[in-house]
């Protein structure tokens, strides 16, 4: 069967689900960031797919900007993870739970 818009949507939906699953289950902060990346890419994939099948180049432009944004976010996130590591000698997000009720 030919690859059409629905297939792309399914893949991006899967990506989204995987990304969220990764964030929710992985204890390691870096792994969670990877999950975030997956979620972002799902969105971008969608955009490109709609642009391709829906006509208009806006989607493509949006995707480009999206990629840059994802990168910027990754940088900042990793810097913070570094800082957390330096503060508590581990990147385990579960251990970073001093702030609670």
């Amino acid at each position: 069967m030919t690859i059409g818009l629905p297939q792309f949507l399914v893949v991006s939906g899967a990506l989204l689900a995987l990304g969220l699953y990764a964030i929710v289950t992985r204890k390691n902060a870096v792994a969670m960031l990877m999950g975030v990346e997956l979620v972002l890419n799902a969105g971008l994939l969608n955009l490109v797919a709609f642009s391709r099948y829906g006509g208009g180049l806006d989607g493509q432009v949006f995707a480009l900007f999206g990629i840059v944004l994802a990168a910027a976010e990754a940088v900042v996130a990793l810097a913070i993870v570094l800082q957390v590591f330096r503060a508590q000698r581990s990147v385990d997000a579960a251990k970073a739970s001093q702030l609670k009720e």
Binding site: N46, F62, G66, R86
Partner: protein
């Protein structure tokens, strides 16, 4: 071309200031008064940005091909953000949590957040919204973790970054679906397109629209800290340095609300008065969201004994009140939100300033250490009492006027559902008295523990306190200038 540049004059000034501050930070050696010069530089930049307002082209002109709309709502909130930035930086200068050496970074980051907020408020295009949201969020992640050595600050930053990234990821996914369905990124044209699709489309399409709209709501919800998306707020507010918390509770929250207004009203043309486009019952949805946010914020604040956490929940509650106005969506309601936002800014910043001063002297944030403050720091405690009672919404203080506008617009919305919202809102202000009065009780009605030190206020802090307290009192009695300003905010480019 020139008119486009002029349209974003203030933003340009801000950008220039950021660059200058960074370069000055490098240029100034360790010995000279780093903090003072950088402070004056930043304030000068803000002043320049404020001056740039005068150059704005008349009337609501969309610049950069519809990316940015210079309408009344945008102008009003941009002015508000400049004020918020000024106080944020001033608090940073005062607080000991921002070391002398890194004050440059602090103000640069803060100004860039302000830049992001200014764009967020005007963004008329999905892409622009996402960009502005990210520009607002990223520097604030770093600001949240500003105290490098402290575990709690870095933990706050970590939570903030992961939660923020996830939320904006969802929003991006929502936007992509919206783009898919509507075929355009421009908010103004999305509404009609969706309406057409919803009218003709099958149930699946309508479900798609709902999914798209609600997922994009996640982004705004996270920024405003509305109920399902609020869980990051208490931890980050407690962990972050107090000046940052103060700024976060005022600046980005207001930007989120303004952006939500534009997204819902312009994007979906939804307001209590008109039939919602795209079949989404926005007023009821946002109404439920508002009620949930208010109730959770007020109830959770009661058992708190850490003042910053208490103010965190209180700011969630106030986000609920603002959402009530957004839910109604009529020009009256938007004007009410525009009136409430600055008053909320004054009260909240005032409260945080007091917390800052007490923390600077006693190093603690627990209510127990506020016992007998009335005796030890009379001026500070009286001002804090004024802010707290204004937050509750008691006349003759400004808080009452804000709430009065909001409830008036909600009651005037006409549909019976909003009477329920009004009653829940009113009951919430009564419950809010529970915890605000607990703090006041600690300060005035209980004796101070023996070893409690007196808390003298440094002169600049007293000045700032006065700058915040006096309008809270005056606006309670004579608020017509604010009302006129806010009236312009209601003029949204349709």
């Amino acid at each position: 071309m020139v008119s486009n540049l002029l349209a974003i004059g203030p933003e340009l000034a801000l950008t220039a200031t950021i660059v200058l501050v960074l370069m000055a930070d490098l240029a100034i050696g360790p010995r000279r008064a780093r903090r003072a010069t950088l402070l004056t530089l930043s304030v000068a930049g803000l002043a320049a940005a404020a001056a740039a307002f005068a150059l704005l082209p008349e009337g609501p002109t969309a610049a950069f091909g519809g990316l940015v709309s210079g309408d009344g709502l945008g102008v009003f909130f941009r002015g508000l953000f400049l004020v918020a930035a000024f106080f944020g930086i001033a608090f940073g200068a005062l607080s000991d949590e921002v070391p002398e050496g890194r004050f440059g970074e602090f103000s640069a980051l803060l100004l860039s957040t302000t830049l992001g907020m200014c764009f967020l408020v005007q963004a008329q295009n999905l892409l622009m919204i996402l960009l502005a949201l990210e520009l607002t969020s990223l520097p604030s992640y770093v600001l949240a973790g500003f105290r490098r050595g402290d575990r709690r600050s870095s933990e706050a930053a970590l939570k903030y970054v992961i939660y923020g990234a996830a939320a904006s990821g969802l929003m991006l996914y929502g936007f992509s679906l919206l783009y898919g369905l509507a075929g355009t990124l421009d908010l103004a044209r999305i509404g009609p397109a969706l309406a057409a699709k919803a009218a003709s489309g099958s149930v699946a399409v309508r479900a798609g629209i709902a999914l798209a709209a609600l997922l994009s709501l996640a982004g705004f919800g996270y920024k405003v800290a509305a109920v399902p998306f609020h869980q990051w707020c208490p931890d980050v507010y407690e962990g972050a340095p107090t000046p940052v918390t103060a700024f976060l509770s005022v600046g980005p929250k207001a930007a989120g609300v303004a952006a939500l207004i534009r997204f819902v009203v312009v994007g979906f043309g939804a307001s209590a008065a008109s039939v919602p486009a795209g079949g989404l019952p926005w007023p009821v949805l946002l109404g439920v969201l508002a009620m949930a946010t208010m109730t959770l914020g007020n109830l959770a604040a009661i058992p708190q004994d850490n003042v910053k956490r208490l103010l965190a929940y209180s700011s969630i509650a106030h986000a609920g009140y603002l959402l009530m106005g957004v839910a109604v969506g009529t020009p009256d309601a938007i004007r009410a939100v525009a009136v409430y936002a600055p008053i909320y800014l004054l009260m909240n910043l005032g409260a945080f300033l007091a917390v800052l001063a007490v923390r600077a002297r006693t190093g603690s944030e627990s209510i127990a250490d506020y016992r007998g403050l009335g005796g030890r720091a009379p001026l500070l405690s009286v001002c804090l009492a004024v802010f707290l009672f204004s937050l509750t919404g008691l006349p003759p203080l400004a808080g009452f006027i804000g709430k009065f506008y909001l409830f008036a617009s909600v009651l005037n919305a006409g549909t019976p559902f909003f009477y329920v919202v009004a009653i829940v809102g009113v009951l919430n202000s009564v419950v809010s008295l529970f915890y605000y009065a607990r703090l006041v009780k600690a300060m005035f009605l209980e004796a101070s523990p023996e070893a409690a030190p007196a808390i003298p206020l440094p002169v600049p802090a007293t000045a700032l306190l006065a700058v915040l307290a006096i309008p809270t009192l005056v606006l309670g009695i004579w608020w017509s200038p604010l009302a006129d300003l806010a009236a312009r905010a209601a003029g949204i480019a349709g």
